[in-house]
């Protein structure tokens, strides 16, 4: 079986370490930025104003990884197998994968909004179902647009430059997912605050 790109079975621990470290460092810095945004005055006001925001935060951040990490892994295997070409042209596989990731992202975001309300009510606290679902809809939609475009650009670019696309997925997804997840959550809290 022939395949293009990096020969994964030859990779030593040291080469995996060296290849993953720089982008993990970028992701560490981004995570520190995300943590700082999380601790900002505006976010803390949001946490106090919207019951359940802290409760849904890990689920929302984690599903960025689940949806777009799976998308990235699929792209990586596709690139390694040669069934996906790292060029920006119409392809039924790519279109299917993009639509599926968008559907996955929206379905799970709306579900988290409803689930958070359910947990709040179940433990005897107050919470707004419409408020939580709308916040998740806005944050989920903005995340999907950003994550899908950047993920595809980074993986195609990285693959053409000779990087193992497998090493690019996690850092790209969690870096963007954490920073923009928290930023979009903040945006959504304020947008929904004006509407509702």
């Amino acid at each position: 079986m022939f395949h293009s790109g990096v020969v994964v079975e030859e990779a030593s621990a040291w080469s995996i370490f060296r290849q993953a470290l720089p982008i993990l460092m970028v992701s560490l810095v981004a995570g520190l930025v995300a943590g700082t945004v999380l601790g900002s005055e505006a976010m803390r006001e949001g946490i106090e104003a919207v019951p359940g925001l802290l409760l849904l935060l890990p689920a929302f951040l984690a599903t960025r990884g689940g949806v777009y990490g799976a998308m990235g892994a699929r792209l990586a295997s596709g690139l390694h197998q040669g069934v996906i070409k790292p060029v920006f042209e119409w392809s039924e596989r790519m279109t299917n994968a993009i639509v599926a990731s968008f559907v996955n992202g929206m379905v799970v975001s709306l579900f988290i909004g409803a689930l958070t309300w359910f947990v709040l009510v179940a433990v005897g606290r107050e919470g707004g179902l419409v408020q939580l679902v709308l916040i998740m809809a806005v944050a989920g939609f903005l995340s999907a647009l950003l994550m899908l475009s950047v993920l595809i650009v980074v993986m195609f670019w990285g693959y053409r430059r000779g990087f193992d696309p497998d090493n690019l997925i996690g850092p790209t997804v969690t870096t963007l997912g954490d920073v923009f997840g928290i930023v979009f959550l903040l945006v959504a809290v304020y947008v929904v605050g004006w509407v509702v």
Binding site: A59, A62, H80, D166, I169
Partner: protein
Amino acid sequence: MGRLSDAFLAPKGDVLGDWGTWLIVRTTVPILLATSILQMASGGVLEAFEDALLTEPALLVLVPVMIGTAGNLGSILCSRLATQLHLGGFAVSVRDPTLRSNGLAVIGLSLVIFSLLGVGSWGIGTLLGGSLGLVTLMVISLLSGVLLALWVIVLGVLTVAVSYRLGYNPDDTTIPIVTNVCDVTGVFILFGAILLFV
């Protein structure tokens, strides 16, 4: 476990293989819904520590990095193991060269990242008016980080192997499972360490 790549090749005559939209959604959504429910445990821990998190900024800084790095390490490992399956397989054994090199790399990466996280969270926490010391944050960060790395390795290998046995493409299943379980475990380990040392 032998060579597994044949199991993942598309059936002859099926041009798209497992790249159908509905197939991807159907495979992924149930896992995402289940792991969202699982994540409520993490959220519950954060809610329980809400006052501490809002008054001690360093702890708030630790949370996304801890969760994110767990996801990074898990997804690097799983994605590499899944691609290895597509390319020809690996054996579930400590003597398997693929598992050994990937495992060592994950441990090395966690040592470096979590040392820097200790310093970073201390610096930012101090700037934001927190009172936790450098040694305390280093101990919390390194202890939870190394435990997390070992857990990522065990869980990553198990889920890729089990996913294969059950006939699912590990690209669609292992990363959601490993990152989500590690997120939750990471939050529990982190707040366990915080309870011990703060």
